[in-house]
């Protein structure tokens, strides 16, 4: 029993060491999108499928918003070192200058994308619900 506890404590210490080394090595930074191509590719992995017809990238690559022919919207938001595609309702979006605010009900938080003057054009007028 004592040996098992010592083994568990040593394993726990090793876990802490490894996590610290990963942080020290600079792997705590958020993911950045390489460009529109990557945003389209990641959006295509949305459960149920998604073919983006229009994409707007955050200026710093922190995320992106995309729409498809059916008017659905997918938000790509950083989830640690990777991105998470997430379907969002049209009424979750609101423009504020160059920024687009997307309210995430499930996570009870707001994602802000700086997409430039184009922000006011989201959601695309042809896809906006009456």
């Amino acid at each position: 029993m004592t040996a098992a506890i010592i083994q568990l404590a040593a394993s726990f210490a090793a876990v802490l060491l490894l996590v610290w080394v990963v942080h020290w090595a600079g792997f705590s930074r958020a993911a950045r999108l390489a460009g529109e191509y990557e945003a389209r590719e990641l959006a295509s992995l949305t459960p149920g499928g998604f073919t983006a017809t229009r994409v707007a990238l955050d200026r710093d690559g922190k995320g992106a918003i995309a729409t498809d022919a059916a008017g659905r919207l997918v938000l790509l938001r950083a989830d640690g070192g990777q991105f998470l595609p997430e379907l969002v309702p049209v009424d979750a979006l609101s423009a504020d200058g160059d920024s687009l605010r997307i309210a995430l009900n499930a996570a009870d938080r707001t994602v802000i994308l700086n997409i430039g003057p184009d922000a006011a054009g989201w959601p695309a007028p042809e896809h906006a619900q009456p």
Partner: protein
């Protein structure tokens, strides 16, 4: 029961190799192989799985002994039994692993191993806490019934698990053709962890990739299709307990909400199955992807 536990001696090597991979990834410009919270979650799940495994080890060993006692003959500890046991245990692993992806009850336990969006050596340690509840041990019982010593089966299983550790890396590209033809390699296993439609539910092998080639579940890695890792519905958080039990909770919700005649379907059908076809299985995702390619 178990002459010695190879995993006990392997753990320091695992730690050293993870350290080496982190430093290698740091030197590689723009590398995203690791992420701090993801690694913390992988290692915490790994640590918890050793505790869960220790708690159920006695029962699993007793069941193997009971099965061995029912065997019509005893193979014993003959030297030739070791390689034979290893190969057959690897076949049993293939069957277990394929079932773990095709039956939601088993998947609820195995999903932990796939829930990282990263692919590195720490991902290898993201092992299940609920393997005993999911009845994973039943896949090894036939070996004991065939007369193999329970201790031999457990040692072979441990070596199989150790072999699979080094598969979880992007550091190694392709190995010589004859190795890729026979053995499971990082390239083959990257395919297994991918969520790209073409790769879903492929390459179930543990040590020998020949099982996938034999049973039609092999797909080679295609450099033109960048691999994205994780699960179809990504976790989206780094909470330990939610990560470990999320699929069990989802099964409970689905069974509760489903009409009576469909309740069992949410336990034994493949992940993604739903009685109203409102969700997608791997086959449906692949079909949709193929249709989009044409």
């Amino acid at each position: 029961m178990m002459p010695f536990d190879p995993l006990f001696y392997a753990i320091p090597v695992f730690v050293a190799l993870i350290l080496a991979e982190v430093l290698w990834s740091r030197r590689k410009a723009g590398g995203q192989a690791y992420e701090t919270r993801d690694t913390a979650l992988s290692l915490a799940i790994g640590l918890g799985s050793t505790v869960a495994g220790a708690l159920s080890a006695g029962v699993v060993a007793a069941l193997l002994v009971a099965a061995h006692m029912l065997a019509p003959w005893k193979i014993g500890w003959a030297w030739w039994a070791w390689p034979l046991c290893f190969v057959l245990d690897d076949l049993a692993y293939y069957v277990f692993h394929r079932s773990a992806h095709r039956v939601r009850w088993f998947w609820a336990s195995h999903v932990n191993h796939h829930s990282s969006q990263h692919y590195n050596l720490s991902t290898a340690l993201r092992q299940s806490w609920t393997g005993f509840v999911a009845l994973s041990f039943v896949f090894r019982l036939p070996l004991a019934l065939a007369g193999f010593e329970p201790g031999m089966i457990l040692v072979c299983g441990a070596f199989n698990l150790i072999y699979q550790f080094w598969l979880h890396t992007e550091v190694i590209g392709r190995l010589p053709r004859w190795i890729e033809a026979v053995m499971n390699t990082p390239s083959h296993h990257r395919v297994h962890h991918a969520i790209n439609p073409r790769y879903l539910d492929r390459n179930y092998a543990g040590t020998f990739i020949v099982w996938d080639r034999l049973f039609g579940t092999f797909t080679p890695e295609d450099d033109a299709d960048r691999i994205r890792y994780g699960i179809v519905h990504q976790l989206g958080h780094f909470h330990l307990l939610r990560a470990v039990f999320h699929e069990w909770a989802a099964i409970a919700r689905d069974v509760r909400a489903a009409p009576w005649r469909h309740k069992l379907g949410y336990l034994w059908r493949e992940p993604g199955w739903s009685h109203d076809r409102s969700r997608e299985t791997s086959e449906m995702i692949r079909e949709r992807w193929r249709a989009g390619q044409n």
